[in-house]
Amino acid sequence: MRIVVPVKQVPDLVEELEIDADGKALNRDWLKFKMNEFDEHALEEALLLKEEYGGEVVVVGLDTGEVDDTLFTALAKGADRAVKIVGDFEAGVTSHGAAKMMAEAIRGMGYDLVLTGVQAVDDLDGQVGPLLAAYLGAPHVSVVSGVAVNGGTARVRKEYAGGVVAEIDVDLPAVLGVQAAQQPPRYAPVSRVRQIMKTASLEEMDAAETADAGMAVRRMFKPESGQRAEMIEGNTGQIVDRLVRILNDKGLLKG
């Protein structure tokens, strides 16, 4: 079974995000990138499926951000192959654009399952998983938190609000948008990643098409400090005293 895991780099939200002078995009000077955390779950689920059913896990990423790190880390975690799609992505890539390029690459390599993160923090024009399915002509289910394979069918658990879960059968080959792997994503020690960087290599493919119409962004801005919160200042003791007064006033402290 070949499981392909498209992964992408997203800005690390821990850093302060600044809007650039144009007012239409993020200022890249201070951006740090990391792997989309839902893609980490997709990779983990793929590795678990490989451990259960056998096969091969191929990670694929567009050459944006610091994707090499992500691809080598995936290999260190147990992926069999890592493919980097190379092209001119300076202007940014929309979800539609990324999905089209991924679809070309994935169709070429053949697949049984595509597992990708359910969403990413910069998905202005929608989630890559279902877009990929549309371009591949494959069935799909998103918001998946459990996958089991039986012959030519995958039985998945799809999450709804309030903890309700549906079991849905999907015919393979299929695309799944993963919300959570069946166990927390495994950790690859830095030493192992470094070792992999020396011994393994990333396959490169040219992007089938680089022109991305892009979303017509009119402007980007920080939400107004609609900071509704009344901020409590002071040292720990003063803060705690204030909190206790607030709770007491609301009748929330037991007698």
Binding site: H41, H96, V121, H140, V164, A166, R228, I246
Partner: protein, 309 residues
């Protein structure tokens, strides 16, 4: 879902009404299902409701629902297709966008009409950045739950329901198997008056104790945002947010939770929200009543001592 219309439906109808007004056109509600015509009648906020009945639509599956909606959209050529940014909406909108060649704007918290074009404001980057984008003259938009009042879309009157034919359901590649109700955990967080809720800021499973101690001192319970549950540090029954529970306690103490839209969805209606976070820019402070830019490892134990003492 499960025989009831969700609040998001009414939010969409309300927003649809506002857009229809701006465009000088009508609001058409759409309901797909099997034996659910009564529910269609509850969508009085729309000018018309299209109801499609088919056994394959009894429960949501991406394949059957997508092909049905695709046919309806092709037939009716709406200016805007509004869906919730929910588990269902996220499964349907992208494929419809790709298949029909219509732009899609996701995570919308507002949509306006400007010069005959649709302009949406989307909340991205964990709620830290707003993006205003042009959807053209016809687009799909997924709407963040809680962005507009559900009451705006509720109407006392019965809806004018129109039956629409289902497309062929041959060759469906996704099939519903069954629905699993949430496991009753040891604690039902939706019934607790006081929740001490932890996010990534708690750092590690071994640190949960400081929040657990405070919860006990306050006579409340521990809850958490999605990453904590995904890490396996707390059971699913403790999860607050879009893919967990929606809670409305008397007190929601958010500890080290940044406040991404998916989390806010689950707790923004709590009576009193107090947030503690080291990041002054954390979106949680936009919904909290009181905020502290501080270290939960200092504040929680001190608060526990004061409350218990």
């Amino acid at each position: 879902m499960q025989g009831k219309l969700a609040d998001i439906t009414f939010e969409l109808l309300g927003k649809g009404r506002a857009l229809a007004g701006a465009l000088g056109s009508k609001v058409v509600g759409v309901l797909l299902g099997h034996g659910a015509r009564d529910l269609a009648g509850q969508m009085g906020g729309a000018d018309t409701v299209l109801y499609v009945d088919h056994p394959a639509l009894a429960q949501f599956t991406p394949d059957a629902y997508e092909r049905t909606l695709s046919a309806l959209i092709k037939d009716r050529q709406p200016a805007v297709v509004l869906m919730g940014n929910t588990s269902v909406g996220m499964d349907l909108a992208p494929g419809l966008s790709a298949g029909l060649g219509l732009p899609l704007l996701a995570y919308c918290s507002d949509i306006q009409v400007s010069g005959g074009r649709l302009v949406a404001t989307s909340k991205l980057y964990g709620g830290k950045v707003m993006v205003e984008a042009d959807g053209g003259e016809s687009c799909l938009a997924t709407w963040l739950t809680g962005s507009s009042p559900a009451d705006a879309g509720r109407s006392g009157g019965a809806a004018a329901v129109e039956d629409a034919a289902a497309p062929s359901m041959d060759g469906l590649r996704t099939r519903f198997v069954n629905l699993i109700q949430p496991e009753a955990g040891d604690v039902d967080i939706t019934r607790e008056d006081i929740l001490v809720s932890v996010g990534r800021g708690i750092g590690g499973q071994e640190n949960l104790e400081i929040a657990e101690d405070l919860a006990k001192a306050l006579g409340g319970a521990l809850s958490a945002s999605r990453p904590i549950i995904d890490n396996g540090w707390l059971p699913k029954a403790r999860q607050v947010g879009k893919s967990g529970m929606t809670v409305k306690p008397k007190l929601y103490l958010a500890c080290g939770i940044s406040g991404a839209p998916e989390h806010l969805e689950g707790m923004r209606d709590a009576d009193l929200i107090i947030a503690i976070n080291t990041d002054p820019g954390a979106p949680i402070f936009d919904v909290a009543d009181y905020g502290v830019v501080g270290d939960i490892f200092d504040i929680l134990p001190a608060l526990t001592e004061k409350v218990a003492g």
